[in-house]
Symmetry: C2
Subunit: 435 residues, 2 copies
Amino acid sequence: MIPCDLMIRSRWCLPIAPDPKPIERGAVAVEGGRILAIGPAADLDARYLPTAAFDLSNHAVLPGLVNAHCHAAMSLLRGAAEDLALDAWLNDAIWPLEGRVVSAAFVRAGTDLAIAEMLRSGITCFADMYFFPEEAAPRVSAAGLRAQIAFPIIDFPNPWSSGATEGFHKGLELNDAYRDDPRIGIAFGPHSAYSVEEANLQKTLMYAEEVGRPIQIHLHETAEEVAAAVARNGHSWVAQLAATGLLNPALQAVHMTQLSDADIELVAEHGVQVVHCPTSNLKLASGICPVGRLAANGVNVALGTDGAASNNALDLFAEARLAALLAKHLGGAAEGRVEDALRMATLNGAAALGLADEIGSLEAGKQADLIAVDLSGPALSPVRDPAAALVHGPAAAAVSHVWVAGRCLYEEGDYKTLDLVGLRRRVELAMEGCG
Amino acid sequence: MIPCDLMIRSRWCLPIAPDPKPIERGAVAVEGGRILAIGPAADLDARYLPTAAFDLSNHAVLPGLVNAHCHAAMSLLRGAAEDLALDAWLNDAIWPLEGRVVSAAFVRAGTDLAIAEMLRSGITCFADMYFFPEEAAPRVSAAGLRAQIAFPIIDFPNPWSSGATEGFHKGLELNDAYRDDPRIGIAFGPHSAYSVEEANLQKTLMYAEEVGRPIQIHLHETAEEVAAAVARNGHSWVAQLAATGLLNPALQAVHMTQLSDADIELVAEHGVQVVHCPTSNLKLASGICPVGRLAANGVNVALGTDGAASNNALDLFAEARLAALLAKHLGGAAEGRVEDALRMATLNGAAALGLADEIGSLEAGKQADLIAVDLSGPALSPVRDPAAALVHGPAAAAVSHVWVAGRCLYEEGDYKTLDLVGLRRRVELAMEGCG
């Protein structure tokens, strides 16, 4: 018998890859924070002697979800701007509000609130993009989950920097500080092609390639954005970024609701990562990312919640469900299949962030980032296909356990690394500053 | 001081009508199962002396939700047919499966399971349409909530009847049995215009008018259905039903994803009730009900979950959110406003079922059908606008209390009228019969 740290037995085990088929009465053995083995519980019990074990007889165990785009601290702006389209939402409501209220303390409280919400609903890794990234990163470290922290690059003065130059300066310092962090990756976050001038996009590309970090950008979010690009440049932003060298596999293009066939060909040719944020895109009346057309061209599509000011929840199960429903609406009921939706929420997210070798599926050697979902409640039973229950049922509320690198961060309402009572007070304090 | 049975104080009280504005630190006084008064808690506490009281300091209290279309017992068919369009879903999967497995015991267990799910997520009244309605109605009575039970009328043999004639016979008996029931209304449920011949639709209309009961029908669910009608009759089903007298305020037309301007004019002119089932319509790739165009023409639009075989959840908060998002997608971000979505889920549902004088809003004299939602969790806080939190946040999982006619049916995980352990056994037994 081989000793190991942890054995997690469950009614169903969903590895996602290499074989997406659920393992009935499966188990995952964990050692040193990584997956040692996965398979039928009877097989693993015959080979491994765990120090600790969980027996989750009504549960599905799957990889922790990867939220490939959010603005965590905006959880404090939840409900601040309802029923507005993107242009008015951003220019008349959110940016002026952020100018008044965003501070280091705001980002610490808001990031902790978002982490509490995300852990509770099964997200173990998220891609953040917000002001004061040097305040957000330590919150992720303390909470024990995983994140890509993109520092913002915007040409004009903002709550964190006087403009792009100071943004690069502070961001590269941050990158140095987290160079070898096992759970936090730094990324470059130019806000959008329309708010960052060409010279600064080129600097972004140069620095990002130098330090080997990805770039995340809001791209082709609305029809108006694309029309303005065509009017200014004679072609779309996708075509413009292709011409200037920005399109590559380290570029994470978020939203992408408006894509011509030529745009999709460019995105596919250059191996760009696409992040689909279906709730936010509908709520701001921006459109729908054509996931079926992208996937048919071999493009990797991940899922994001976007920030809580345009969603208003950080629930990636809900995004997976909505992505499946919208894919069916656009392409017919055979599109948006359950397996595709789950893969988008896990392995595709990992791949988008350049982490597919480490997380996103339950495979021996990968990080032990797992979640358990109790499928015995009246809203999820009976279970014929656990994958369908996870995608089309209310799974987020049924998440019972969350592990990252083999460490249990959440169990049945109990947060192991967060103080919810203190957090509620800090949120109240931050809200007093919001007026 | 006036004595009363119950006082429910809450952080926010959302009456929906006549004024949709939330009452901060509000209260509802209940006497004899009806609302005696609603207003600021300080005012009510000065006038009423309750026998019992709830102090819900982090909660929103609002009318119980009205699920205006479902097939409750189909909760046992949850996940039975994934990733299929309506035609294949119905003809190749669901109808043959129902022919094999549906029985009186199946309907009893499935209805109880659906009731458990619906109560837990704040639904206090639902419109059912399924086989063995005489088995479903007693389950509603026992559980203590409210329902419209539509008995099915289908021309061909089905698990409950040999055809339309036996359907009328059994249905009219059922109507006699529940003639004076305070919480259960019987309705006529012709499956669709394409599955019930004209003579039987006319009989439905005649009987329904005689006994003063509404009709609920699936109508204009898919483009194929409408195209077939045009090919057969020279016009749409809506035009056909208008010509034959079926269109009237007692007709509840479910789905309505495909509507020409002429159809909408007919629906508006005749005061037809429309029930929008957004999740089911996307999942079966049927289309989207044009709620904005209907509302602009003065049509009352309610919300339904449809059955768990095409959703897969009976969560009306989720339907309200999706309805709001889709309205924005079709009509711009200023459509699908938070207030509209909440009204669709409550008062519009009551109106669609002919119950607007009794339920759907918190007004003195109406039934005390109320729910409380705890908005203090990390996924819902901070709360700027409780209505936005309810529509755009994950509210269903945060429902803490449910009252119907002043009686508490659910409180913090505790079902007062259902035995969840026994129900789980009965569901397992029913599933063995499903093969």
